[in-house]
Symmetry: C2
Subunit: 399 residues, 2 copies
């Protein structure tokens, strides 16, 4: 039999999904599993989006343009303007989810062996997309003790080689919920300028900033407009992850045209998803505010509850809907699996993502988990209770 590719072999299993078989086994034993592992909100998709789908009056579901439906790109440009992101429809390429935007950004900008610097913990699939492109992620650890603030600039500079092509950030951050400050973003800008790097900026959680601190887009940074590749998605803000509609926003025409080659090869992003996304952009402020308030309540409830469990610590995430929490265990991978395969509390258990998969530096995050607060308060309450009871009886508890 011919061998599979090396790149596939070295690609780590998704920390979010690798325990899914254990969760399924637990469910098959009649156990209710609370999914805190994946950023799949339970909040309703906007009625406008559902109506747009139900009212589709086409007889042929045909290819859309490779860069997306023009009217969707126009509406996205107006949407970005509300955040002082000054781009036009011609700077926007609609993608099949944010995932494809990251993949195509890497494919169009990075050659095999090229390096990008990524503060970690980081969204795990960046690694997968980098491996697909043959690029190398050089990671800089941020720590739970500082609430996952940006590591010092010197740490970045130490990693810069002649193969360094870019920096990738996620702001507000998945998995930590950290929101970069103006000072931190200015430091990133200075690095990008000094070393002439690409800045890949994943900003899909911009609607969810809870502390009053401003959201700073990479496109707000002066003097690097041609270095920025912004990654976006409608998935999280409109609770429509399944429609697979994202965007890559870039003012650099050379990058734009390079990305378009990959877009043309895959023909087009999903048509019906684009119709739903375009309708979603018309949601009124009430929908966004109600979701925002709901996440804020959940965040406060979850973080408070976590920090009340003996031995557990979570910083207060400033944005997005995740937190990385430290548990009194040696090996969170084992603990998360044990929760699904060996534990139950009143016929229930929780599914969390071990944080180790969000680090590439070996050994980091071993006692941390990522928790998504995408479930309603009662479910979070039940999850906290289950976690507390589990830690009481887990055989490998450390403190």
């Amino acid at each position: 039999m011919p061998h599979v590719s090396h790149r596939g072999a070295i690609m780590p299993d998704s920390p979010i999904r690798k325990l899914v078989p254990y969760a399924n086994l637990a469910k098959s034993r009649g156990i209710k599993v609370y999914h805190l592992n994946i950023g799949q909100p339970d909040l309703p998709t906007p009625q406008l989006a559902l109506d747009a789908i139900r009212n589709i009056d086409r007889t042929v579901l045909e290819y859309s343009p490779s860069d997306g439906i023009a009217s969707l790109r126009e509406k996205l440009a107006l949407y970005y303007r509300k955040f002082r992101i000054d781009v036009g429809p011609e700077d926007i390429i609609v993608t099949t989810g944010g995932s494809e935007a990251v993949t195509f950004a890497f494919m169009a900008c990075l050659d095999p062996g090229d390096e990008i610097i990524v503060p970690e913990p980081a969204y795990a699939n960046y690694t997968a997309f980098a491996i697909s492109a043959g690029a190398v992620i050089r990671s800089i650890p941020s720590t739970i003790e500082t609430g996952f603030a940006l590591p010092p600039v010197e740490d970045f500079e130490k990693l810069i080689t002649d193969r360094t092509k870019g920096i990738m950030i996620c702001n507000p951050n998945n998995p930590t919920g950290y929101l970069y400050t103006q000072d931190e973003m200015d430091k990133i800008r200075d690095l990008v300028k000094k070393y002439d790097l690409f800045l890949f900026s994943d900003e899909v959680y911009r609607e969810f900033c809870y502390t009053g601190a401003p959201y700073i887009s990479a496109f707000h940074l002066e003097g690097i407009e041609n270095n920025v590749i912004l990654v976006d998605s409608v998935s999280k803000r409109y609770s429509e992850c399944g429609i697979r509609v994202g965007a890559l926003v870039v003012k650099n025409r050379e990058v734009h045209d390079n990305v378009m080659k990959f877009c043309q090869a895959r023909l087009s992003p999903p048509l019906i998803g684009q119709i739903a996304a375009e309708a979603s952009l018309d949601v009124d402020g009430d929908y966004m505010l109600s979701n925002y308030n709901e996440y804020l309540r959940r965040r406060n409830f979850l973080i408070d509850g976590l920090n009340r469990i003996p031995g557990v610590f979570s910083p207060i995430p400033m944005g997005a809907f995740y937190t990385v929490a430290r548990l009194p265990v040696e090996d969170a991978d084992h603990f998360c699996k044990w929760l699904l395969s060996d534990f139950e509390y009143e016929k229930q258990t929780v599914f969390m993502a071990p944080a180790s998969g969000f680090y590439t530096s070996p050994g980091l995050g071993r006692n941390e988990v990522r928790i998504a607060y995408v479930l309603k308060k009662e479910d979070l309450a039940a999850s906290l209770k289950i976690l507390e009871e589990a830690l009481k009886v887990y055989p490998h508890r450390t403190i």
Copy 2:
């Protein structure tokens, strides 16, 4: 400014889409453009699929499983069984169109520098997907004189090196409409066995075989079940290209699990498309037969008409809905562009895909075009008339 990637720079423009700006300019001048360039059928999407979309009763459009909705995979397995392709739902991975299936097959099986042998002319985007994976396409020309039959086995063997990892075929073929015979498929099987290669087999046009000759799937070939990676899509057979639902079918578990890593990284294929695709699999025989007969009529009409135009020659395609025709011009790239930018006949023109983009051997296909017979007979008639008139006045006509 940092440089874009080499892989992006070497990726050829899509021969199907690169002239789109010229077509748009023609339209802006009030000229009606007949689109023969792209395999976008004008036939209606099944009512069942449209109804399934209109009747969606979900309140949250959430991620689907990374390998696709289980009930869709089950129905696909039943569908394949009708073609004596003996696979189960566990062998099927739902992808975002056939495009993603090819991409992930290459990513999971090929490392940078690995080679695959592809008879040409070939679907142009295979090159783009191979470049994405860093793989190298070694092409073997088939010729219009033999109706694009499989080149001799010796031609394949001449290209085999220690980096050869696979053969890629498209059957029935896009762009030529050729349908491989049992003898040809047996020869491919023997090569695959002898050199232990992967056989990537794109079979998205299986419903459209017009000559009574049997459709032979790569999975019909005995003894290489573990080498075959079948690429499929619902786009063409149900006229729903825009929903972006395809499939990768593989019995080799190592390949399956490697592909799944790429699937997990991109989270899931489009949810609504999957719902539409699943409904489409319930279409009755009348829908398929009526479309089949329509394409058959169009094929007969188009090929007959082409061969009546002085200097034009088209073999009779046996399947799919394309033909590669030879024109009395030196440079079909120039001619196709000229048709859009400099010619009109009664305020109309035609958009064809220059065939050069379907070859990687330099200089081949220069006087050929790919024509998709996806338009109704009257439009094909108008297109034939326009082509005939254009060739009368084209300044660089050869014969």
